[in-house]
Symmetry: C2
C-alpha cells in the first residue's frame, strides 16, 4: 500500500486541470488584477471566480491581498516549477529506461 506524499502536487496539477483556472494564470502574467477584472472575460459570477482563485491560492499559484474594498490577485512565479520538476524527473526516468533497453537490444546482436 502506497500513500500520497505529495499533496501539493495534487493541488497544483488539479488546479491546472481546469480551463478557467489556466486562463486566469495566463491573465495574471499581464499584472495584478482584481477579482471582478478576472471574472469579467468569463461567463461566471463573482462567487464562482472566488472559488477558482481560492483553489489557485491553495495550489500556491496565486497570492491575494485586500486593499480597500478590492482584492488583488497576483502570480506566485515559483509555483509552476514544482510541476515542471515532476514532469522533468518523470520523463528523464523514462528516457533512461528506453536508453537502457536500446543498449540491451544492441548487445543482443
Amino acid at each position: 500500500m502506497v500513500k500520497c506524499l505529495e499533496p501539493q502536487l495534487d493541488r497544483l496539477f488539479g488546479a491546472l486541470g481546469e480551463p478557467v483556472r489556466r486562463a486566469v494564470v495566463r491573465d495574471l502574467a499581464l499584472g495584478e488584477k482584481s477579482l471582478s477584472e478576472l471574472a469579467e472575460p468569463f461567463d461566471i459570477t463573482l462567487p464562482g471566480m472566488m472559488k477558482h482563485v481560492a483553489i489557485l491560492e491553495e495550489a500556491g499559484l496565486v497570492m491575494t491581498e485586500k486593499r480597500g474594498r478590492t482584492r488583488f490577485c497576483r502570480l506566485e512565479p515559483e509555483a509552476l516549477s514544482h510541476a515542471q520538476r515532476w514532469i522533468e524527473e518523470t520523463t528523464s526516468f523514462w528516457t533512461k529506461r528506453l536508453e537502457a533497453l536500446a543498449t540491451y537490444l544492441e548487445e543482443e546482436n
Copy 2:
C-alpha cells in the same frame, strides 16, 4: 466570454492531479505492466484501478492492449511534453513580463 480550446490539457493536468495516477505513470517507466500488477501496490480493487487507467488513456498518457486474458499497459512517452510545453510557454510569458518591469523600473532612475 472565453471558451476552452484545450480539452486535452484539461484531461492531461486532471489525470496528473491524483496521487495514484502519478504513481502509475512512474511505475510504468519500469516497463509494461498488467492491470493487476498496477493495482497490487495500492489499497485499491481492480475496477478501481481500471478507472484510473481509463483516465490515463483518455489523457493520452497510457496505451493498453489485451493479450489473452491480460490487459497490458504501457506509457505514451510523448504525452507529458504537451503539459511541459504549456508550463514553459506560461513561465516564459511571466519572465518576459518581469524583465520588462525590471527594465522599466531601471529607466525610472
